[in-house]
């Protein structure tokens, strides 16, 4: 494929997919280690009512109200889960299940009740996103990267997800030591003066921001897959957190690039005519990576538990 085609059609979706994957995989590492992996799942479900409510209030598909709505819904969900867990003395998994299914159902109902036929807002879009449509029409080739006029036509999703990624990296870098200590030994973290409750909340909020930004660009299915699969696969490869995070980033980038390429060109190689869903393919590739590491990874076994029991 020549650069005249590659840059406008594939470069931006590839970058957006990669950034979204890495932005989700970074907090995902800590969530998986803290056994909170399903928070990504819950957040990506509850985002729907938030977006629909934002649409109802503003009457238009505009980015910032929708992001705010999604973030608001995520916060409402976290608060509700905590409240139900404490007030009803219900185990966290079930409380989460009650809240996110109800909010998702409310979102679907609101969507059906409103006339959204004129705008591009439906459940399928929320689930698989529209990665393929995020093209850069102003580009003519690699030289456009230095062309300010063409750069202005970049899809706004790209800058948003890039900003989010920078934010997530900053959060991980700044809070590296407390995060690491409180993830592995919460009691010790408290004794040396780390406020573990606030830190855990900050981690969840960072994850929610990453989820909402990625959701906006690539749909909820990648969000769930990238929160869990690359970190889980990296966990099979090493016992060191630093190596695990590097591995997970590599896996996330691999899934995003390979998934996008396979979805776009795979059917053509097989003689098909049309591309398949890139979001679905990225999730599938990350699952394949996880399957491979689960079968052959050097640290796949649960050694510590067997020794201690």
């Amino acid at each position: 494929m020549s650069s005249e085609e590659f840059v406008p059609l594939s470069l931006t979706p590839l970058l957006i997919g990669t950034f979204a994957a890495v932005a989700c995989a970074l907090p995902g590492n800590f969530l998986v280690l803290r056994k909170q992996a399903l928070i990504g799942d819950a957040i990506s479900h509850v985002v729907l009512p938030g977006i629909v409510v934002a649409f109802l209030l503003t009457g238009a598909i505009s980015t910032w109200p929708m992001m705010l709505g999604a973030a608001g819904a995520a916060i409402v969900a976290v608060v509700l889960i905590e409240a139900i867990r404490r007030l009803g003395q219900i185990e966290p998994g079930a409380a989460m299940g009650v809240v996110f299914t109800t909010m998702f159902a409310a979102g679907v109902l609101l969507l059906e009740q409103t006339d959204t036929s004129t705008v591009h807002l439906d459940v399928e879009h929320a689930l698989y996103g529209n990665l393929e449509s995020l093209i850069w029409l102003d580009a003519t080739g690699w030289s456009s990267l230095w062309d300010l006029e063409a750069l202005a036509g970049l899809p706004s999703e790209l800058s948003r997800i890039a900003l989010t990624l920078i934010g997530v990296i900053l959060f991980t870098w700044l809070f590296w030591r407390p995060l690491k200590i409180s993830t592995f030994d919460e009691g010790f973290a408290r004794t040396i003066g780390i406020r573990t409750g606030a830190l855990g909340m900050a981690l969840v909020i960072t994850a929610a921001i990453a989820a909402v930004a990625a959701f906006d660009a690539v749909g909820s299915i990648i969000v769930i897959a990238m929160f869990i699969c690359p970190p889980a696969a990296a966990r099979m490869m090493t016992n060191r957190l630093e190596t695990q995070i590097i591995c997970s980033v590599v896996f996330a980038i691999t899934s995003a690039v390979a998934g996008y390429v396979l979805a776009g060109y795979g059917p053509l190689w097989l003689g098909g005519a049309d591309a398949v869903s890139a979001a679905g393919m990225i999730a599938t590739i990350s699952g394949l990576i996880l399957a491979l590491t689960a079968m052959f990874g050097p640290c796949r076994a649960r050694v510590g538990v067997q020794n201690s029991s």
Partner: protein, 401 residues
């Protein structure tokens, strides 16, 4: 209109959907209870999402064989197979790798669902033209439900219920104490798989009505609701079935009564209403009951402290204590004790003295452990014992001023 719907007078389709949803609600509630008691409620999320690739593959196979791609038994069989594969993957990940169950659930859920979406887009580009309705499995679609579809749901639901009745005892034991069950020689791992198999059956049966994303709600919310009302597992199972069935029935009727009310989400929201009502108003475990218990406790503490203060001629400044004492007729408006107030105060002080004796006496160690500053001593000791203690204290004395 709603009444017509509730009494099944809105026509053939609405009636079919209402009956199907009720049966589905009952079997989902009953099955979900065991999952909830086993603390694995979110496993249902992985199972339900893992049905999607099976549905798509079954559709492709059916079309390739020249049949109608929307043949419901074929699609359900496909979904059951892929859900089972997903379940085995999840089990393998938790048993043979270091991943915790939540990570395994999330991995299976997202990967199977993503693969399903890939297949869905493949089907869309196959150009068969009859794929309309396959997306209906995501959120359920009851519009074109046929008699045969309803029959499948009814038979599936009934078969699931029967199986639950047959293996409820081992499932209950595994849910409460897997180690004990293993010590008794029960095959815990296989019982767990059977439990998951039942959940899978409910999921597959429910695909048509509520869709694969919302079936999770029917498996989780009714058991959580029922748990508020009873501490006995058999009653929780029955109540969960009742709550699920009722939610299915009311939800289906409600969604038939007006346009643009999709059945699946309405059923979920109705069952959430039941949950919210239980959360607040259930006896013992409900929030309202807890608040009332707290207020009652507060009242007892205040009255007790007030009486002790009266007995020792101390002035009471706490407004709540004064108000409570006044309402009980123990003090007058100016804070001076009435005759019954004086009697109760003397008794409270004497009881406190008796407790003091009990707590300093090794022989009463077990009783002393019950002391919390509120308990009446005659509820824990016999008259003879109290008389013995009183002898040690001696007769009534003047309170030193």
């Amino acid at each position: 209109m709603l009444w017509d719907a509730l009494s099944l007078q809105l026509g053939y389709n609405a009636t079919l959907v209402a009956i199907g949803a009720t049966l589905l609600g009952v079997s989902a509630g009953v099955t979900g209870t065991f999952l909830f008691l086993r603390k694995r409620a979110l496993v249902s999320d992985a199972i339900s999402h893992a049905t999607l690739p099976g549905v798509c593959l079954a559709f492709m196979v059916l079309v390739a064989l020249g049949g109608d791609g929307r043949n419901l038994p074929g699609l359900l069989a496909g979904s059951a197979i892929s859900a089972w594969v997903g379940l085995l993957c999840m089990n393998w990940l938790t048993r043979h790798t270091r991943l915790a169950e939540d990570a395994a659930i999330g991995a299976v859920l997202s990967v199977f669902f993503g693969f399903g979406i890939v297949l869905l887009t493949v089907i869309q580009t196959m150009g068969v033209g009859r794929q309309a309705g396959l997306e209906g499995f995501l959120l359920g679609s009851t519009a074109g439900m046929l008699w045969a579809d309803a029959l499948i749901i009814a038979i599936g639901g009934a078969a699931t219920l029967l199986l639950v009745v047959l293996i409820r005892r081992p499932m209950t034991m595994v849910a409460f104490d897997p180690d004990y069950a293993a010590a008794r020689g029960l095959p815990v791992h296989r019982i767990d798989l059977a439990m998951m198999g039942l959940v899978m059956a409910v999921t597959v049966v429910g695909l048509k009505i509520v869709g694969l994303i919302l079936i999770v709600a029917l498996l989780i919310i009714p058991p959580v609701t029922a748990r508020f009302w009873s501490e006995r597992s058999d009653r929780v199972v029955l109540l969960a079935g009742l709550a699920g069935g009722l939610a299915g029935y009311v939800g289906a009727a409600f969604s038939a009564s007006a346009p643009n009310l999709p059945t699946g989400p309405i059923i979920v929201l109705v069952s959430f209403v039941f949950f919210a009502l239980s959360l607040f108003f259930a006896p013992v475990r409900g929030v309202l009951a807890a608040v009332l218990r707290h207020l009652q406790f507060q009242q007892r503490v205040h009255i007790r402290q007030g009486l002790l203060a009266l007995a020792q001629d101390q002035k009471i400044y706490e407004p709540l204590t004064l108000r409570l004492l006044r309402r009980a007729g123990l003090v007058r408006a100016d804070g001076v004790a009435t005759d019954p107030g004086k009697a109760r105060a003397a008794k409270a002080l004497r009881d406190e003295k008796r407790w003091e004796v009990v707590r300093s006496d090794q022989a009463h160690e077990a009783t002393a452990a019950l002391y919390d500053g509120l308990r009446d001593i005659d509820t824990v000791l016999t008259q003879d014992q109290i008389a013995e203690i009183d002898r040690r204290i001696g007769g009534p004395q003047e309170v030193p001023s």
